[in-house]
Point group: D2
Chain length 383, copies 4
């Protein structure tokens, strides 16, 4: 079991879906960060169940800060947070003590640990991600205040939106994608029930979600993420490169099955001169400042941020919990038909977006702290 | 800088492209592993430059073992290995001291560290991966011997092959892909100049590579990987899941821009009943043993191996070093035209395949050791 | 800030003295350990304040388990525990917001973090150790059950007793010290108000403690610890040797100023032939089994346990919080006279004994798990 | 096996006594440190064998830098160093393949790993410490340059001297000990064959060493260490306190059996008012600047440096390798008489002094880097 992520901004999470509580301990947060509890709560509320087209499980998810803050300011000591698991309908899961849901952790977890909490998947439940979002909220407050002290073109910010759901897919007008990458806001994204910024898709998305929910089925979805305002040089080669650490963090999210940076898999079919990002020649640039003509690589070169927006895509598979009948293995090593009850999202990706943002932010907070140590301040020699 | 990967099978690498040597230290290798030096050398030779359609840099890459082995058997102490950097044509790189190659680490590394070795990209060179392959060879010898003591349907093994290069793409006959996943051998793969198993593509691939090389251009490529014979339960949720740790390791490889597990991004457009892997009902199965009907998820559920073959795809961008003229930034913060000399692969992915296999193997060795500790051996209680 | 200890049995603690709660998260506990909550509570109660000659602060210190346990058995997931800080007389500490108590963390913490919780010393309070004791209780239950599956001469157990307080010092009869090392029980130790096993010292110790308490002064003390039933081979050279890791854990306890293993500092004045532990020649040994004639080294050779009892001594300085007037620095960078109010132990060491036992046990649990991976099971070759 | 120490300034060592080489990899060294190879070599030479009254094994111990440095300046990439094991008289150790030397690692290492290199103790040899000293040399060059950019009363520096050997013990004149702590130099210490600064003891020490050598015996010794010029606030509570991390590093040195900070074990017999360090009242201080009247605590409060000199003592046991006959266990589980041949120091502590300095410096480098991240730079609020 490995429930700590990060080497400098260290996040440890705990909690089973139907146990007493879920929580997170953030160790390594510097002293002097103003902790805005209302903002923290609002951040956590974005992944809360009980919204339309999400599981009907309703949890207040009130975040209690247990340590690390004095008079609203971080102490530099571990900041522990807790949410209680209030409404746990464990009875929905009694059947699951004896049968493994297909494509869930149930089966390999039982083989690995020999003992598991079958109620809602225990620690393998999506409920676990509430701890990540709590930590992400702290990471965001830290980074916003940290970068406020640094001159920067852009304000630091992380967003993610839904680009496709099943066969429904956003078609971008010219420059629209680039515009989204640089300017789309969480408010604009959250205005959509599916967190998809293209309003004309809204009725179709809503219909698809309703249909899946009533059919006891679910949808996969593709998501775009963007990190703005990150200065160049973030990342710790050769193993903790910015992209490798982000990939680890992203793929640790339940249901995430793929990740790509910049044009990603599209780059496989291109030539070098089609894939490279080059600068605009000084002569062609009215501003006179060298700038990149393109951002096909997703803002990361050699494992380090370049100062451009970091972007990429994530594949979320359909929620594996469906109520349609499936052939499953049971604890007697026999097959049986299962129809999964309980409350499940018709598309995991929608509520996973705040989790994705949290994981990106936590990882960046860790690497930003690591990067503080990369060179002697007085270094005057340079190539 | 973070040049150690793993928590139990810990690999630390060092070395610049044109410095005295590249090396790796493996700490955490158990005692009692028979170390076959010839096999190690052969494993490392698979990524060696100087083969056709790869860079013409020729290095003997003779691996010297410095510690950790006594009379051919591992001691449980750190196993250090070294290859000397023999043929380093540093003069090819003198121009690069004052200009940043587009899409290389040069630019952000300079901003981060304020000081860099411009010869061949220094530590940001693909040369660095020779250290990873040395460690991968040790990991493979360990795992093969480790799993030999465990009853298993399949023998443990890792393979990877090239599935597409530019617009050339393998078309699989029915069941052919599944057959490759389970049975394709390294020997069969290495018989192709491009490490692509479909022989009819060979002339086209060779032509495309020759053309890129003569044009001073390069190609992107897509790669499939498969890990066979891994028992169920490998992975350490919630942050060191098998897929999240593999993603981190894979994306740390130079030029890797995306990774997906199982059907990955294709799952985004599917419904739950189309994406889930279910068992074959006992009644339909002649063997009487429950088995999975499909392996769309890539052999990982809830972050743990299921016993099925682990598989996925990796996107490699075109080699960014091309001799075609590009507009680059120089250290004077001005743009200038650059035409990159030196010896470069027309398609990075081909030589990256052994590196990919090495990173997969290293990561699995680490998680296999971690998994040893997941439960009390005497545990008799179960759900 | 570094509030996690251990690489395999990982303990993360949090909490300020007068914040909402103190807690611990244990990650890496294997699945299948029976968690006895009553035993856990009893273990924690041993360090509870409010006993005679300890601080009069009274805390129920009721331990709530938040995660990681299902039906009384560990899941292999993080086990989080919490105690609320109920009776916090913060007003006692208002003066301390502007003056640094001599030999406390106040002064360097302020310089380091620029912000601190002055109430009771915040995280630098002895209150913090309640988290360690919670984790120690879990480590003990784990190790007891773990070693029950291994054949062993002795049962695993950790004890510590007070050997001196100020100028009062235990005088051991011949063989008495060795007998204590092997057989003294926690019950026998706790029968004494000062946790000193020599009953004839009891009235003198009680008098010394009363006097210190009424004078607003305090006493230093020397403590002996013993770890029994540890099999040989525990420890991870060259940096995580058993003794080096125990030293780190011990010295992290507030007020611990020194540690020695076996005869420790006494060995400085001896010759090799006086200091070495040798075997009893077979001819002299009635049992016919080779055994060690002495245990001067404290049961550790080359950084590994030998199978003999691990023992050593720890120096605890006098409680630095005394109500006698002292010249202190204040936040205005001026000196002022301070007389520390609040509730303080006349001898920290007494309540620190369970903390010492906890730290020893946590560290051993970590190294026992690490040691599981030291060699291939099938290894048949040996020197 | 755990051969990496540190979380930020990470040192990984490798090498067996009679294997091909010993080495160290330093990862986390910032870019821009001027690496003076001659100074590095001189630092390493201080622990070299072949000096009078040390083992007669002669090794050039020429340090080769393999990576991490370009044109004499650190790159921020891993700095790997190597010394070859030139003169290895393995034949001296052939007998040891079948018998375990008392109080050496031989016995528990064999039980743990099942396989060991018996030549000179393999990795359990004192030879291993050459890697630590190489890394210590780099840490010292880093810290000297790092602190040169910070205003400080004192220059950063680490020294250690021999205070006692057997029954011979330095008697300090009034204020002499404090004077040594603040001003004694390595040159003054190295002027003595035993690294003892009191010249009148020199003939007695030399006689004691000669006698031990001719008798095939050895001596224990007590050592004092001092770290000067460390700013306040270094240390990472609650587990990586400055003293706990130093204790871990010190006790990992072969033959170190105890460590104390400041007056250490002497504090056990004192009262709080005798043990605390207080400030000199402003009225009594001619300089007008508040300063501490005493430094009994060794310069560490609450686990953090205070700005005062860090000091303490270390107990080194007598070299366990003696040629006098001893009863040992052999690999047949029988006892036999052993007389250890080979070349051994009559007092390990003398050559261990540079190792002690190296371990102190490595640990401080790690905590200094960690401390960079403890608070937001713009923090303006304070208590």
């Amino acid at each position: 079991m490995s429930s700590t992520i990060g080497s400098h901004f260290k996040v440890t999470t705990f909690g089973e879906s139907h146990g007493p509580a879920c929580g997170a301990v953030v160790d390594g947060l510097p002293a002097g960060v103003i902790i805005d509890q209302a903002k923290l709560q609002k951040y956590v509320d974005r992944r809360r169940p009980g919204q339309k087209h999400t599981t009907s499980r309703k949890e207040a998810d009130f975040v209690e800060i247990l340590s690390g803050v004095y008079k609203g300011i971080s102490l530099g000591t571990p900041l522990a947070m807790l949410v209680r698991n209030r409404e746990a309908r464990s009875q929905d899961y009694q059947e699951l003590a004896s049968v493994y849901r297909p494509c869930h952790g149930d089966y390999p977890w039982q083989l690995k640990y020999g003992w598991r909490d079958p109620r809602g998947g225990g620690r393998a439940s999506g409920r676990e991600t509430v701890s990540r979002v709590m930590a992400g909220a702290i990471a965001e407050q830290f980074l916003e205040q940290y970068f406020a002290t640094i001159e920067s073109e852009h304000r630091f910010g992380v967003v993610a939106w839904l680009e496709s759901l099943g066969s429904l897919c956003v078609k971008y007008a010219p420059d629209e994608f680039e515009d989204y990458l640089e300017h789309l806001t969480r408010e604009e994204i959250d205005a959509s029930i599916a967190r998809c910024p293209q309003r004309k898709l809204e009725p179709l998305l809503e219909e698809a979600l309703s249909e899946a929910q009533s059919n006891g089925n679910s949808w996969g979805a593709r998501v775009v993420f963007a990190v703005r305002g990150l200065p160049p040089g973030i990342g710790e080669p050769v193993f903790a490169k910015l992209n490798s650490r982000l990939a680890e963090a992203i793929i640790s999210i339940p249901s995430a099955k793929g990740v790509e940076f910049g044009q990603g898999f599209q780059l496989c079919s291109l030539r070098g001169d089609q894939a490279n990002d080059c600068w605009i020649p000084s002569s062609d640039d009215s501003a006179g400042q060298p700038r990149l003509a393109t951002n096909r690589q997703g803002g990361i070169w050699g494992g380090l941020s370049t100062g451009a927006t970091i972007w990429g895509r994530v594949a979320f598979k359909p929620t594996p919990s469906i109520s349609l009948p499936q052939t499953a293995l049971n604890t007697e090593q026999k097959t049986q038909t299962i129809s999964i009850k309980g409350r499940h999202d018709p598309c995991t990706a929608i509520r996973a977006l705040p989790v994705l943002e949290a994981m990106l932010t936590i990882t960046i907070a860790d690497l930003v702290l690591a990067g503080e140590l990369s060179r002697m301040e007085q270094l005057t020699i340079s190539n």
